[in-house]
């Protein structure tokens, strides 16, 4: 799944880009990152990745109301991504663990969650976590 570009529908848009609902999700060559680009709105362009590659213990509750928005009948159909911020260059790259992007594999509906009462923030470093893993 998601080896090739897929059209994803964000019913509620994406916070900050509420009016952009149709996106195309394209994997990069290495298979680590995914580009999420507004179909007719290139300014709504995001870099996504699998959060578990850098934060294996990452977890959150997928509320019933959010499952309903995604029309998610089975949790196994949910694919979880997080947004990558490259501001400040490669070594400063961060992921937003407070607003995971969840896509329903089955109907290709997506949404960005807004986690409440969460220990996470919008900026968790990528690189330090990679180096810790190496030790």
């Amino acid at each position: 799944m998601f080896d090739t570009p897929q059209k994803i529908f964000f019913f509620q848009g994406i916070p900050g880009f509420e009016d952009v609902r149709e996106y195309v999700l394209t994997p990069d060559r290495e298979g680590v990152f995914f580009h999420l680009k507004g179909e007719h709105r290139p300014e709504a362009s995001f870099l996504l990745m699998n959060p578990f590659l850098v934060y294996p213990d990452y977890a959150f509750d997928l509320k019933k109301t959010d499952q309903d928005v995604l029309e998610l009948n089975c949790l196994e159909d949910a694919r979880v991504f997080v947004m990558v911020n490259l501001q400040g260059g490669l070594n400063q790259a961060t992921v937003n663990l407070l607003g995971p992007v969840v896509i329903n594999d089955r109907n290709l509906r997506g949404m960005q969650l807004v986690l409440e009462d969460s220990p996470y923030t919008t900026r968790h470093p990528i690189i330090p976590n990679l180096q810790e893993k190496e030790d």
């Binding site: 916070p15 290495e30 298979g31 680590v32 309903d68 490669l90 790259a93 807004v114 919008t122």
Partner: protein, 82 residues
């Protein structure tokens, strides 16, 4: 904006299906209870705004970083993952 004064325990009804109740008041804090249909999303504004702001930064950083940086980081991660 409509401004109403309510006491602890009192309720405001919005439309037919949304009820907002003042559950408790303590100092600067007001605890509110909300009953609404599942399709109505209820969020704390600050959290939503912080994510919206971050998304704007992410989109900007993607435009500025270019494909090279993405590929380099990608290699770094896939190497460590093996």
């Amino acid at each position: 904006m409509l401004v109403l004064t309510r006491k602890k325990g009192q309720v405001v009804i919005i439309g037919d299906e949304i009820m907002v109740k003042v559950v408790d008041v303590a100092g600067d804090y007001v605890k509110i209870g909300i009953d609404a249909p599942p399709e109505v999303s209820i969020r704390r504004l600050e959290v939503y705004e912080s994510i919206a702001k971050e998304n704007v930064h992410v989109a900007q950083s993607v435009r500025e970083a270019g494909a090279g940086a993405v590929q380099e980081l990608s290699k770094l991660i896939s190497r460590r993952d093996k």
